[in-house]
């Protein structure tokens, strides 16, 4: 995006003003050269001999210095890795697109290996003509491209009882954001001909869990995508190769992988994943169901517990991600003092609907401790609430949809900790 940043004024001015004030600290923080740097004055091996030839890695992996940037699991969360989740290393990523190889995984019966040859998609139920498509058939349909975030409803769910996990990866990493190419579900449903009494669709996958979910027909005909490319290449096995559903703005459990069947029905199936799971227990002992939309949310990805600030006082980049399942992010604010005061952050590009928005806040750090927070605002006027405000309404047992404001306590040595504040 080449657009001007939406709100460069305030933070840029503050940045320059801060620069002048902190000039002393900056000088102290900058390493003065004790002598000529041998990395510059001596001929280094990489400047002398060959590096790798082409094809050294026919499909490239990140250089070994980045081997910490991987998905990670928290073992005690689940009984077994085949029905479990891991976390995107958002603390170490920038921009908005999540590389497939480190985008979080959630399986209910393990990631299955399904070839394009073996792939079949059925549409049945209340349609004029039940149909079967092969993968090759899907390739004939007109395609659309759209970028969307996929957030597990349980993202930040471990934090309902209080600050628990150290790092944005663990507290907010059940999310990824990819550019998908596929066929709109509407196109496929039109091909089968939805009958007037069809008010819902039931979606299921080809794996042993099948992960069936019910979706109202309005959403199914709106912006849902039957996707087979992500970030320009085929989906990864762990994300549902060869075909998955993309349900913009709605909880990740609906994004059924290894998509095999779409049934038009006249009511919800009330399957396991929409009754015993993915329902939100409230303080009165009753539970909300069909809580599909992901509310506006944001998190500072750096600095954060896994991304300590080691450069010391002086210019500092504070950055993070914001998103909403109800349209576009319009603004993100950052607080350095635990929410006493707020300043507007720069949005890195024009926000897209139901996609991650990157924000930056250029700060000159004086080296004193900070209580960093970010606060997302979306186009409905919704302002991301604090965790305590959510608890006030939802109690501690709702598991899902925790979109409360996150606090990182950045200490003078640049280390950060997950805390909650009054």
């Amino acid at each position: 995006m080449s657009e001007e940043p939406k709100t460069p004024g305030t933070s840029r001015r503050a940045f320059l003003r801060g620069s002048a004030l902190a000039a002393g600290a900056l000088a102290a923080g900058r390493a003065s050269a004790a002598g000529p740097d041998p990395l510059i004055t001596e001929v280094q091996p990489w400047a002398q001999v060959f590096g790798d030839g082409v094809d050294a890695t026919p499909y490239g992996m990140p250089i070994r210095f980045e081997d910490h940037v991987v998905r990670r699991n928290v073992e005690w969360l689940t009984a077994d890795v085949t029905s479990s989740i891991n976390f995107t290393p958002i603390h170490a990523l920038e921009g908005t697109i999540t590389p497939q190889g480190c985008a979080f995984e959630r399986h209910h019966s393990g990631a299955i290996e399904m070839s394009k040859q073996d792939y079949r998609l059925m549409i049945n139920g209340l349609v004029d003509q039940p149909l079967v498509f092969t993968y090759a058939d899907l390739e004939r349909f007109p395609r659309t491209v759209q970028t969307n975030f996929c957030e597990c409803a349980a993202n930040s769910g471990m934090e309902w009882g209080g600050a628990q996990l150290q790092g944005a990866q663990f507290t907010h990493g059940m999310i990824h954001n990819m550019e998908y190419t596929g066929v709109s579900l509407r196109t496929l449903l039109d091909e089968a001909g939805v009958q007037p009494e069809g008010t819902w669709v039931y979606i299921e996958g080809a794996d042993a869990s099948s992960n069936g979910r019910s979706i109202p027909i309005q959403k199914a005909l709106d912006d849902v995508l039957v996707a087979f490319f992500a970030n320009g290449e085929a989906l990864r096995k762990e994300h549902g190769y060869p075909v998955r559903l993309v349900v913009p703005g709605w909880e990740g459990n609906l994004w059924v992988k290894w998509l095999r069947r779409i049934e038009v029905t006249n009511g919800p199936v009330e399957a396991r994943e929409e009754t015993s799971k993915y329902t939100d227990l409230m303080p009165d002992g009753r539970a909300r169901k069909w809580t599909w939309e992901m509310d506006a949310k944001s998190v500072i990805t750096s600095p954060s517990p896994q991304a300590p600030w080691r450069q010391g006082p002086g210019p500092m980049v504070i950055t993070g991600l914001a998103w909403t399942g109800r349209g576009k992010i319009t603004r993100v604010d950052v607080s350095l003092d635990g929410g006493k005061s707020w300043q507007e952050a720069r949005l890195a590009s024009e926000p897209q609907s139901m996609a991650l928005t990157r924000f930056h806040f250029d700060h000159v750090w004086d080296g004193s401790e900070m209580l960093l927070q970010s606060r997302a605002i979306d186009e409905t006027g919704y302002v991301q609430p604090t965790k305590d405000e959510l608890r006030e309404i939802r109690g501690l047992n709702s598991v899902y949809h925790n979109n409360g404001i996150q606090t990182w306590w950045v200490k003078p040595d640049g280390e950060a900790e997950n805390v909650e504040v009054s």
């Binding site: 058939d137 007109p142 015993s276 517990p305 006493k340 707020w342 306590w409 805390v419």
Partner: protein, 359 residues
Amino acid sequence: MSKYRDLLIGAAILSALAAPAMAEKLGIGRPALPEEIAAWDVNVMPDGEGLPQGAMSVEDGEQVFVDNCAACHGDFAEGLDNWPPLAGGRGTLTDTRPVKTVGSYWPYLSTVWDYVHRSMPYGNAQSLTPDEVYGITAYILYSEGLVDYDFVLSKENFTEVRLPNEDGFYVDDRVEAEFPTFQREACMAGCKDAVEITRKASDLAVTPTNDAGKPEGTIPDFTTAAAGGAEAEPAVATEDDSAAATPASTGPDPELIAAGEQAFRQCQTCHDVGDGARNKTGPHLNELFGRLAGSLDGFRYSRQFVAAGEEGLVWTEETLHDFLMQPRDYIKGTRMSFRGFRDDADIAAVTAYLQTYTE
């Protein structure tokens, strides 16, 4: 749902710009055959639509449950280790630790039948007959005290059974209940007088940590010393380690071991093997060959398994083969829900694979 109307209008305007024009059907795909629909369209609705013929008593269902479900869910549906309990927990939904089970939380019995039929037993889905699914469902109801021991569940009486928490759910009301509070002017200054830290994650210390005691995934410090091109090469060293852990080429057939690793996937939900292997639902399988049956410290075996060990059953290629052919015939009463390999070749492969983890 007026927001959908707005969305659809918006989509119509946008479609002129970006979406492909779809004037008529494209004639892609082929009609689904009745047999195909019957094979895949097996979901059951809350009103019982989709249930096949069948029936089973609680008493017979108990045996099916013990054979197929109890290894994870417990003999009394109480849930073992981290696996979910299926019964109990009524009256706990407002507690600090609510127990959400079929009896305490699930709204519809159809969900139980549907899920067990399609996705259970875990690791061997779609292997149960409709009668067996009626039996398991009946036994869960019995465990919850909702039916008597002589009860028989069938397609005919299925919808007569209602779960206690059917009315415990309501449709998402965030827009009405929360938006009036959260759609507001965002405070920019003087938002609160004082800020105190009230909770710290370090007090719990439950985050996975690296060797330095920092959270896993902490970005390494590159701000101080130069990395240098001639530094140790950890990636290569790691490969050497794993190479050392697998047998040399003069040993067993690597293809057989690889096939065994594949076949072992059916086992690994319950059995760990290799570096750091721990007891899970089943005992870990390191140093298996030469091990006395039922002898691993810290694992809770079935009574019958311990007895087999006391009678001198030692795991060898031969005894493992016979066990894996017919586990439940070989050790009657074993908690292992696996029904055995159909193919001798799989057993040979799994054996070769496991042997790589016995010194």
